[in-house]
């Protein structure tokens, strides 16, 4: 009764909206990451499972706590915090001590997102801010977290872990040569190789990526240009391009993090510039930097320049005739 007294609702047009909503997008990305997460759990054993749970739960908790303390609106229901937590866990070593995951999530959610005004305003990919902070703060703890990917054996071992190096790490230390790396193709493709929790299994990541493509969440522009640039540079420098494509976090980064709406350019031309930059930085850091992997750094680096990229490039209006000088 009270409602009808208020009269009808008036709003500006349009009066219909599409069903796709932001929380739904987050859910879809979350689901698309599940194959990779499950692969990680299978190959790396119980610590991986614990880290995944700690990542997701702590990210949501941190977001809730910070917003509660600062008296902001609580936005955990939009699903972005859970997704960030998942990504943090997936980009960290599988058997890293869980306190690292939790603290990385704190950095991701606090300085990485909420201080900028929350979802949609952050400049850097929050998950990578968290991950990189952890990697630079506790390097030895992290390096101890890379464990052998043994599948069932890993589960049988339980919480005792066997340390293992990542293929890119071996390449960097010169323990494997730069060429004829084809023996790694199989493990890299299926995931039974050392590496971060969610980055090792190319097939699982590609299944998720296909899912995202079909759901219309991402387009191929950024990932494809990113991967091609990296592969092209690898060939230019006499490296094995397939090894470079499959190893490290490249596929995870290209399909799930470089395509993050908030921190990538909107315009197609800008997206291509962004993706080329990602490819160059990734390959340069892998080859000439002091870190074995450069995906996280290169995404953060290009994030710095997104607004700058966005400023350039004229806009073509409908029906506009360019002056032919």
């Amino acid at each position: 009764m009270d409602m009808s007294e208020k009269g009808l609702i008036i709003t500006a047009a349009p009066h219909l909206r599409d069903r796709v909503a932001t929380p739904r997008i987050m859910q879809v990305v979350f689901i698309a990451l599940m194959p990779a997460a499950l692969c990680g759990v299978y190959f790396f054993g119980p610590w991986a499972a614990i880290n995944l749970v700690v990542g997701v739960a702590s990210a949501v908790l941190w977001e809730y706590a910070i917003q509660k303390i600062w008296k902001f609106d609580i936005t955990i229901s939009d699903g972005s915090a859970a997704l960030t937590g998942l990504l943090v866990a997936l980009t960290l070593p599988p058997a890293v001590e869980p306190w690292v995951t939790a603290l990385a999530c704190l950095i991701a959610i606090g300085p990485g997102k909420i201080v900028f005004g929350g979802l949609g305003y952050n400049i850097f990919n929050p998950a990578l801010i968290g991950r990189t902070f952890a990697a630079l703060s506790w390097p030895s703890v992290l390096s101890a977290g890379y464990v052998a990917a043994d599948g069932i054996t890993a589960w049988k071992r339980g919480f005792d872990v066997v340390a293992s190096a990542t293929p890119l790490g071996l390449l960097k230390t010169g323990e494997i040569g730069a060429t004829s790396l084809s023996r790694f193709y199989g493990p890299l493709f299926f995931g039974n190789v050392g590496g971060s929790l969610g980055e090792t299994s190319a097939i699982a990541l590609l299944i998720g990526a296909l899912f995202l493509l079909f759901a219309g969440i991402i387009t191929l522009r950024i990932p494809l240009v990113y991967l091609l640039t990296t592969a092209g540079l690898a060939m230019l420098f006499n490296q094995d391009p397939i090894f470079h494509l499959l190893s490290g976090g490249l596929i995870l980064g290209a399909f799930f993090m470089a395509t993050d709406y908030v921190t990538s350019p909107i315009k197609p031309a800008g997206q291509i510039v962004y993706a080329v930059g990602l490819g160059i930085f990734t390959f340069m850091i892998r080859m000439f930097g002091s870190y074995p992997e450069g995906v996280a750094f290169s995404i953060l680096l290009m994030n710095c320049f997104v607004p700058l990229i966005e400023r350039f490039g004229a806009q073509k209006r409908f029906g506009e005739v360019r002056n032919r000088a």
């Binding site: 306190w99 300085p111 201080v115 902070f133 630079l136 703060s137 506790w138 390097p139 703890v141």
Partner: protein
């Protein structure tokens, strides 16, 4: 009396680091440890006091058009004195602060005080101002260092020059090495500034509210 006021303002209300946001580079570098903070802070204070003293004493002589070169020569002289003395007597600190000791010259605080205060005020006030600003800077850097040092190293008050081993606060395993880097400095200063903003605005609001209540009662 006025000299005391000039001294006091630099400590907090017009703190060069927290209120005026100048001289941040040395603050970033030296706030990695309390001992470094004290060293850098006192060095800057020394330079500030003496440059303010000389500039205010000479202010009637220095023509407006060449005041900046004059200021900077005076400042650079004292900085070099500090640099040489530090290298002689506190070598470890000198090594950590490295290139940033000569760069005290370009610490905006010093030139800014010369320009904004010493050039316009008397000798006593200028010394007070220099001392206040210098100690304000020192205080700010120490506050930053108190936050950064334990997070970065797990210990506090480590000072090799004086043989302090430091007090252990958290296990070394948890120490976040990144906080030792400028990254941590910027982050810490950002959060400290935000907290100061938050606290002052809250206390301002509380003051306003109490004033409003008082007004109502009348």
């Amino acid at each position: 009396m006025s000299a005391f006021k000039e001294f006091k303002k630099g400590l907090w209300a017009e703190s060069p680091t927290f209120a005026m946001l100048i001289g941040m580079c040395p603050a970033m570098i030296s706030s990695t440890a309390v001992s470094n903070a004290v060293g850098m802070g006192l060095a800057a204070t020394f330079v500030l006091v003496f440059s303010n003293l000389f500039i205010s004493a000479l202010r009637n002589m220095i023509p407006d058009k060449i005041r900046i070169p004059c200021f900077i020569v005076v400042i650079a002289t004292f900085v070099t004195i500090v640099d040489l003395s530090m290298a002689a007597y506190l070598p470890d600190l000198h090594r950590i602060l490295g290139v940033f000791v000569p760069l005290i010259v370009v610490n905006c605080i010093i030139l800014a005080r010369a320009e904004a205060f010493a050039y316009k005020n008397g000798v006593v006030d200028s010394i007070a101002d220099g001392l206040g600003m210098g100690l304000g800077f020192t205080l700010a850097v120490i506050i930053l260092a108190i936050i950064r040092e334990p997070i970065a190293t797990g210990k506090i008050l480590y000072a090799k020059d004086f043989g302090f081993e430091g007090i252990k606060l958290i296990p070394a395993k948890f120490a976040a090495a990144l906080v030792d880097k400028p990254v941590g400095g910027f982050m810490t200063l950002g959060f400290v500034l935000a907290s100061i903003n938050g606290i002052t605005s809250r206390s301002k609001k509380a003051k306003q509210a109490s004033a409003a209540c008082a007004a109502k009662e009348v």
